[in-house]
């Protein structure tokens, strides 16, 4: 089921949570809404589900306008961060709930409901735990039950609100892989909210990066990571270092010295240079960025150093090979291999 979000605005007591957001979600894709807290990602998900009503704008499920439909009519599967399992029902009853509450005309026979629930329990790899109560399960198991429960109603779209947020790192990684498998097997259009960019980059077909009630960029993980469309996305996705520069004579200048990078355009003025700490090359001579090592620490297979660059108050981070002899006060000259320039002092 493809979903179209059209010029949606949502205000909570006059405070805007979403500002004229539009988004096309393709049928069968796994798409992540990513952003810091307060960016409106959960609000957008709840609007699609019908748990909130938009102040303005419309939402289409396929060609059908779903804006005025109730949650019940929308037939969406929703998974909550805190599982929201019914504690008075055992695992199987939880999964069967959505089918059991259907009106008689559309309700499958009891045996069929049971068969389907057991099948789903098998899909989420919890066969044999059907009689357990949610309190008797681990966090990861509970979230699997919640997913099975959501899938039981054969939803038109699957919506997950920070589904792995309450789980520890190991379980999260495992469930991530498993969710991807389930998605590939069942082919549901799936939207999930996360503030964990690693999760989004690893799991999603496409990312929607949001901040302050607006969509900053939509694209595949590669697009968003390699060609961020604005400073926010560059700073939010992956590691980044930023430095104010001046553009003059088709060259970039820092503190009155050329740094050996050509300007992409003729314009003259202030700009901000963004690059990834690991995307730099050390240079022996020629124009380059030069700084003095202020701190260094080992991060996995590399050594991350903080450089003080003449006259610039914030430190810049770059990665060096872990066996690089740089110590404190060492002078290092480098050039970013890949970088982007955003105009203006703040880079807007």
């Amino acid at each position: 089921m493809e979903i179209r979000v059209q010029d949606i605005r949502k205000e909570f007591s006059r405070y805007p949570a979403l500002n004229d957001v539009s988004l096309d979600i393709r049928s069968g894709e796994l798409i992540a809404l990513l952003g810091p807290s307060g960016s409106g990602k959960t609000t957008l998900l709840r609007l699609i589900a019908g748990l909130e009503t938009p102040t303005a704008g419309r939402i289409f499920f396929g060609d059908e306008d779903a804006s005025s439909k109730s949650v019940q009519e929308r037939n969406v599967g929703f998974v909550f961060q805190a599982y929201a399992l019914f504690r008075n029902m055992n695992v199987l009853e939880n999964i069967m709930f959505g089918l059991k509450v259907r009106p008689r005309a559309t309700r499958p026979p009891a045996a069929e409901i049971r068969r389907r629930a057991l099948e789903l329990l098998d899909l989420v790899q919890l066969s044999g735990l059907d009689k357990r109560f949610p309190q008797q399960l681990s966090g990861g198991q509970r979230q699997r039950v919640a997913l099975a429960r959501a899938l039981a109603i054969e939803p038109r779209v699957l919506l997950l609100d920070e589904p792995f947020g309450a789980l520890d790192a190991m379980v999260r990684k495992e469930l991530r892989k498993w969710l991807r498998e389930i998605h590939d097997r069942t082919g549901h259009t799936t939207v999930f909210v996360t503030h964990d960019q690693e999760e989004a980059l690893e799991l999603a077909d496409r990312l929607v990066v949001m901040s302050q009630g607006k969509i900053e960029q939509v694209g595949t993980p590669d697009e968003v990571y390699d060609t961020p469309s604005n400073p926010f996305v560059f700073g939010f996705i992956g590691e980044s270092s930023a430095l104010p520069v001046t553009v003059e004579n088709r060259e970039l200048w820092v503190g009155g010295r050329a740094i050996g990078l050509p300007a992409p355009h003729d314009a003259t003025g202030d700009a901000r240079l963004f690059f990834r700490p690991h995307d730099v090359e050390l240079v022996e001579d020629g124009a380059a960025l030069a700084g003095v090592v202020a701190a260094a620490r080992r991060v996995g297979g590399t050594r991350r150093v903080e450089l003080e660059i003449g006259g610039y108050p914030d430190r810049i981070e770059i990665d060096l090979p872990f066996d690089h002899p740089a110590g404190e006060k060492t002078r290092i000259a480098f050039r970013p291999k890949r970088w982007r320039l955003f105009e203006g002092k703040t880079g807007q």
């Binding site: 748990l51 599967g77 504690r87």
Partner: protein, 295 residues
């Protein structure tokens, strides 16, 4: 017992036992000892006399009915107080506690004057009351329904007793259900809604099961309070032997007749029945806690 971070287990347990013995256990035992001094055939005679049986029936029957009514309306009140923000909510919240604070005799007098045949509410239901006049005026009703005459005497009958007991038992259900309802996760309702459950299904299948232990607690408290209630009831009951005489009143009457044995036998029976009923309620509660998770 491992040494705990906070010392004083021995001291506090000793204090608790001594205190409970002094306040509860010793008086109860004394009561049974007193009753036991009466010969057995006399006990049976008192216990099975028509007047005692009728009084016990009135007491426990009306207490049960009042507790059931309080469960239904107490849950609704708790729901309104928790779920809706409206002007005057805090005032309403405070009013719920009034039956706790009011001297029960005051409540009894107020209720009996309201529900007496000449009182504001009682007169409505009297044979020549406003309600009957209104029904008689509805001549358009088929089957001669307008000739139906309602004659419901409330005060000085068992109905009056039930009303008084509803009044004094109201806060118990509201105050036990309210905190549980406040903690109820909105997400559970939302989850039920996304799964297609309508409002009614969400309430009956998701919410009520979670509230059951609290409702049972409130029921038990309201019931226990009603069984022991004396002050408010005697004013509105009319106290007709075998009809609207409650067991606590019968005990007082026996005492006034210097029939200490009779009084302690009836008291002992009341205690046993109340204890048995509370035990059953507690068992149901323990079961529902296991069944519906800890609340």
């Amino acid at each position: 017992m491992k040494p705990s971070v906070i010392p004083g287990f021995g001291l506090t347990l000793g204090y608790t036992l001594a205190y409970l013995s002094l306040i509860v256990l010793i008086p109860v035992i004394a009561l049974f000892l007193k009753a036991a001094t009466t010969p057995l055939d006399k006990i049976i005679q008192i216990a099975t006399s028509r007047r005692t049986l009728a009084a016990l029936e009135v007491s426990f029957g009306s207490s049960l009915l009042a507790a059931v009514v309080n469960v239904v309306f107490g849950v609704i009140i708790a729901w309104v107080l928790v779920r809706y923000k409206f002007w005057g909510r805090r005032l309403l919240d405070a009013i719920v506690d009034l039956p706790f604070a009011l001297p029960t005799a005051v409540a009894g007098i107020a209720l009996s004057s309201l529900y007496a045949p000449k009182g504001w509410i009682g007169s409505l239901f009297a044979p020549a009351g406003a309600l009957n006049e209104w029904i008689a005026a509805q001549t358009w009703l088929p089957f001669g329904l307008s000739e139906f005459q309602l004659s419901w005497k409330i005060a000085y009958t068992p109905t009056g007793i039930v009303i008084a007991l509803i009044f004094i038992g109201l806060p118990f259900v509201v105050r036990t259900v309210q905190p549980v309802l406040e903690e109820f996760e909105q997400e559970l309702e939302e989850a039920a809604a996304t799964l297609g459950a309508n409002r009614w299904q969400t309430i009956t299948r998701v919410m009520l099961p979670r509230l059951t232990p609290a409702i049972l607690t409130g029921f038990a408290l309201a019931f226990a309070r009603a069984v022991g209630e004396y002050g408010s009831v005697i004013f509105i009951a009319g106290n007709l032997p075998n009809v609207s005489e409650i067991a606590p009143l019968l005990i007082v009457i026996k005492l006034e007749e210097f029939d200490q044995a009779g009084a302690s036998v009836i008291a002992g029976i009341m205690l046993l029945i109340a204890f048995a009923m509370l035990l059953v309620i507690n068992l149901i509660q323990a079961w529902s806690r296991r069944r519906y998770g800890n609340v």
